[in-house]
Amino acid sequence: MTKGLATHWRLMPQRYNLIGTHCKNCKSKFFPQRKICPKCRRTGSIEEFKFSGKGEIYSYTTVCAPPQGFEYQAPYVLAIVKMKEGPFITAQIVDCKPEEIEIGKKVETVFRKVIADGSSGIIRYGYKFKLRD
């Protein structure tokens, strides 16, 4: 079996739709999902929460020596995005040149191919971000 197939399948809601969790008790929001609220512990009440996909660039780097599978995209921007709802998320910023990126610029999520397992493997789709027009 292809390595990581089951993991990808399990993570699809997170990768496709930014489904995290939140604590109904203290309103803390988590991405990736947490099963226990670190603040409320046993008194916390966790349920799924869908993030809006809107946020801003908190920090970023330009990848010039990419890992396997991303060779032909270089140079590309990898950013820490501060989501509107609070949590931080690391993601690729697409359809832009590195010089167009600035800390604080508004971004929104897009649905893209993240990596394919060669030409015959499964294609893993998921979230990336683009600058808001």
Partner: protein, 350 residues
């Protein structure tokens, strides 16, 4: 009850290549190519875009416009000739990405450039039969043209999605009619990267025969004449065929101008007629009548008579197609070749 469009969404990749840049590489006269094909530039998908990602973006936009709950979608049909998998449906990827799964039926369609309108017909049938509340019909493609071939100037990427239902219609679909024959004008065999075509044979016995017959028959049986329509959109394999088809049918340039997109975005294949229709809906007013006729090689046409409702003026699409048409950045032929995986030795993992 009336069946029609509850909401729609579109998507175009950001990158463009100009016809003269392609002509430069192959030693053709750029002005002659532009004039001959009626095309200035076409869209180019990024490395991480395919027919599935385009379909998802269009579907999400259609959901925002319609305001319906994804769980109320009972069917998803995705028409494309560039489905990312030979086996594994694009429609299931879309279903998961818009949170419409698991209570629905889904399937991929293929009929050259008309699979998107075939998807609309499938949804109409299920809605009218009372089997589903809403159907999602998508036409989406990242088409390929052989390097140096005339198709390379036009084969582009883009898509549109329509939510078909019975309530809250922004446009009613009054009738649909199809005209289908076995015509070998354009084809791609299994496992082949590029399609082949019958050059001049793609005109009279193929495109024009089907588009003209289909459009005439649907007007005839509804007792309508070209002058009764505010707008018309015909499949746009290039910038010239739809203009000629309009003339032959008796439509004037004013009626087809708004939906004629190929000169600036190229032929988006399964997205072509749906995108032209979406561009018209972005501006159409209550009471406007639209004739839409697609064409798919192989060959067939689907015609629709669509009457816009007042709801379309109250609930305008928040992301009109013009946003995507205006959002663009040009690439040269070398970058285009890389993005489309045309460089030998470069395995793009697609």
């Amino acid at each position: 009850m009336a069946v029609g469009i509850v909401g729609y969404g579109t998507y175009l990749p950001k990158y463009r290549i100009k016809a003269e840049e392609i002509a430069r590489v192959w030693g053709k006269d750029p002005e002659a190519m532009k004039k001959g094909l009626g095309i200035y530039e076409k869209t180019v998908p990024n490395l991480d875009e395919d027919a599935a990602t385009i379909a998802v973006e269009a579907a999400r936009s259609a959901l925002r416009h319609s305001g319906i709950k994804p769980a109320d979608i009972g069917a998803i049909y995705v028409g494309s000739e560039s489905h990312p998998y030979a086996v594994k449906p694009t429609a299931t990827i879309v279903g998961a990405a818009i949170e419409a799964t698991p209570e629905l039926t889904a399937a991929d369609l293929e009929f050259a450039c008309k699979a998107g309108t075939a998807a609309i017909q499938c949804c109409m049938g299920l809605v009218e039969a009372g089997r589903i509340k809403y159907g999602l019909a998508i036409g989406s493609d990242t088409s390929q043209g052989m390097p140096g071939d005339v198709l390379e100037y036009t084969a582009s990427a883009g898509g549109a999605a329509f939510i078909i239902g019975e309530r809250n219609l922004i446009a009613q679909i009054k009738d649909t009619y199809s005209f289908t024959t076995d015509t070998p004008d354009f084809w791609r065999r299994e496992g082949q990267e590029f399609p082949r075509h019958g050059a001049r044979f793609t005109g009279e016995p193929a495109y024009f025969k089907h588009v003209i017959n289909c459009s005439n028959k649907i007007m005839e049986r509804n007792e309508l004449k070209p002058k009764d329509f505010q707008y018309a959109v015909f499949h746009q394999p290039n910038g010239r065929f739809p203009v000629k088809a309009a003339k032959l049918l008796g439509f004037d340039q004013e009626q087809i101008k708004l939906g004629l997109l190929t000169p600036w975005i190229g032929n988006t294949y399964s997205g072509s007629t749906p995108l032209g229709l979406a561009r018209i809906l972005d501006e159409a007013k209550g009471g406007d009548l639209i004739l839409a006729t697609s064409y798919g090689s192989g060959a067939g046409s689907d015609s629709f008579i669509i009457e816009v409702t007042k709801e379309n003026e109250r609930r305008r699409n928040p992301t009109p197609l013009q946003c995507f048409i205006d959002r663009k950045e040009y690439v040269d032929y070398a970058i285009y070749a890389k993005l489309k995986g045309k460089i030998k030795g470069v395995v793009l993992e697609k």
